[in-house]
Symmetry: C2
Subunit: 342 residues, 2 copies
DNA sequence: GTGAAAGCGCTAACAC
DNA sequence: GTGTTAGCGCTTTCAC
């Protein structure tokens, strides 16, 4: 098992010679074992063990024009927002022998574009993007390549290829109406500046639409820190309380900031929901752990990842042309979760 | 910019012909621009734009025996524990044109081994592992390859190549002594079963050592869920309170479970730190957001990532042999952070 | 500063 | 079920 000279330079030929077969047989033993007789296969596997052979995927990819890598870009890995999706995706892909290549864009569309160029060089067999808003060239570049592409975390009438997600707008609208149903009168929305993030903008739009339906005036609180840190939620509460006529309910753009706000209230002695009701978005583990537990929108984070993996695997098996087939857009829905905070 | 026939099949020759140069000049314009006259370079860049050329890294990697990929394995991406390290690493590498290939092992050493085999196939120029405990073959495989390897999040006298981290044992020992200094008498430690995770075992050992120094009896609480969810912290509090003689302070193996425990106390009306003091480990954003804020050990998560990136970049530039050079082990230290919870 | 030829290690296509 | 041949698209080496 450790005899192989200086490993890392063991080539398929070395294994083949040791097993007394041709290189192609080694290749087949690895990729399509059923094509190789059990006896030979065992000999080959033993030779691989003995030499510590690790296939050079660069060579295989080059020749076959087909890697085993799926490239994904998420806005951030720093908090838990996309964590479930990424793990679900990675698991779903790994079960089919595909390796996930992840990069984060820091919520910047320009960064997304340049990162994508880099990732494409690795010859991925599919690309996963977060959201449906992209730099102009991203769409054309991916379409012209004819690569399977899945856009996640939102829906869209005309995806680059496929989309898997839920309606951020509708989810926010429903949450707003739910808060109104509960009797809250002055419902505010807190999010980062909408031009910074399309999904946040969609949620804001859903809030606005609901408020219009209710015939009430919208009240917007702008978060800093891209609206993804506890601290920005805390600061928002500070701002709120200075207002002459503060809202009696705030719908936060995600659970991370909602949680930060709830903790600030606890610290400041602001009763939740008595004095200020708080709603979040995401139903992360944080929402249940909060005091009080957060009313929020459950979104199918892990399932988005799993479904994305499934679509990719199916597409690779079928080798359909990119923009045909069923399920171009998969709506996994959302669910309003009522807890004590609102 | 979109003329190039069916993109994804644009090769370097196509760009070269369009620019009226040889392929090698295109290659140089991309990789070592200073070797190409400005005039020719501009023509080449224009041709790349026009054709939408994306270099096939598989071919380059194959020929040059040198990719631009660094492979990393972390135990999980599901919570924030390793998030800072991963982002710091990714950022530090990207600044030098290196792409991070991340995979998660689910805290399993066997999974780590098999994932590593997969990743090695991509011909990474360096490998980053979490922790210093690995399956037996991992060490020999990496050493024999002579690849730059960085083990993170712990220290070790004899790393595979380099290690960047802090002493989990010493950090836990110091925190335990700090709790004793504050006057807590019955200090317990809560962590997952130590055989499941080496870093947790080190922290337990540090706790035991401190308790021995103090001449006190150790009291261990075993967490479920690998000790990485809020819920397991909550359940631990439930268990604690059933004891005849519960501890007056609990040192949790990380901030995630400590936070879960603190929230459970809040809910159950257990005064923190009055009735039960709580200490965490990590100083994640959660620690500050908690009520009360958590006394914890600050560990240099992002800096581990940054330093790891720096070591890798330096090693690639210097092409030193693997186990020589300064800084084989970089101790980034830790800091006890005193807040209200203990 | 630029080019021509060779070949990295594997797998597709075709034999047997 | 197994082997032979050719070549994927780059970069290295050496020439100019």
């Amino acid at each position: 098992m450790t005899s192989g000279s200086r490993s890392g330079r063991v080539r398929m030929v070395d294994v083949a010679q040791r097993a007394g077969v041709g290189t192609i047989t080694v290749s087949r033993a690895l990729r399509t074992p059923q094509q190789v007789s059990k006896e030979v296969r065992d000999r080959v596997l033993a030779a691989m063990e003995a030499t510590g052979y690790v296939p050079n995927l660069a060579a295989g990819t080059l020749k076959s024009q087909r890697s085993r890598v799926v490239a994904a870009i998420v806005p951030t890995l720093r908090n838990t927002i996309f964590a479930e999706t990424v793990e679900g995706l990675a698991d779903g892909l790994r079960e089919h022998g595909l390796q996930l290549l992840i990069a984060s864009s820091g919520y910047s569309l320009e960064a997304e574009e340049s990162i994508l160029l880099n990732l494409l060089g690795q010859q991925p067999v599919a690309v996963v993007l977060t959201g449906i808003a992209h730099a102009p060239r991203v769409r054309s570049m991916l379409r012209s390549r004819g690569l399977p592409v899945v856009e996640t975390w939102d829906l869209c009438d005309d995806p680059i290829d496929r989309a898997v997600g839920f309606s951020n707008l509708e989810a926010a609208r429903r949450m707003t109406l739910t808060l109104a149903d509960r009797g809250y009168r002055r419902i505010a929305f807190a999010g980062a500046p909408p031009q910074l993030e399309h999904r946040a903008a969609q949620r804001l739009a859903g809030y606005r639409q609901a408020m219009a339906e209710l015939g009430r005036a919208a009240q917007i609180i702008t978060l800093d820190d891209l609206g993804v840190t506890f601290a920005s939620g805390e600061r928002a509460v500070g701002q709120l309380l200075e207002r002459k006529r503060p809202p009696d309910a705030v719908f936060f753009v995600n659970d991370v900031v909602a949680f930060g706000a709830a903790q600030a209230c606890l610290r400041l002695g602001v009763a939740v929901p008595g004095q200020l009701a708080i709603a979040g978005f995401g139903d992360f583990e944080l929402a249940r752990a909060s005091n009080p537990p957060l009313t929020t929108v459950r979104i199918p984070g892990e399932q988005i990842g799993r479904t994305t993996a499934r679509l990719i695997v199916e597409r690779l098996a079928a080798s359909d042309p990119p923009w045909t087939g069923p399920e171009r857009v998969v709506d996994l829905g959302f669910e309003i979760i009522s807890r004590e905070s609102a």
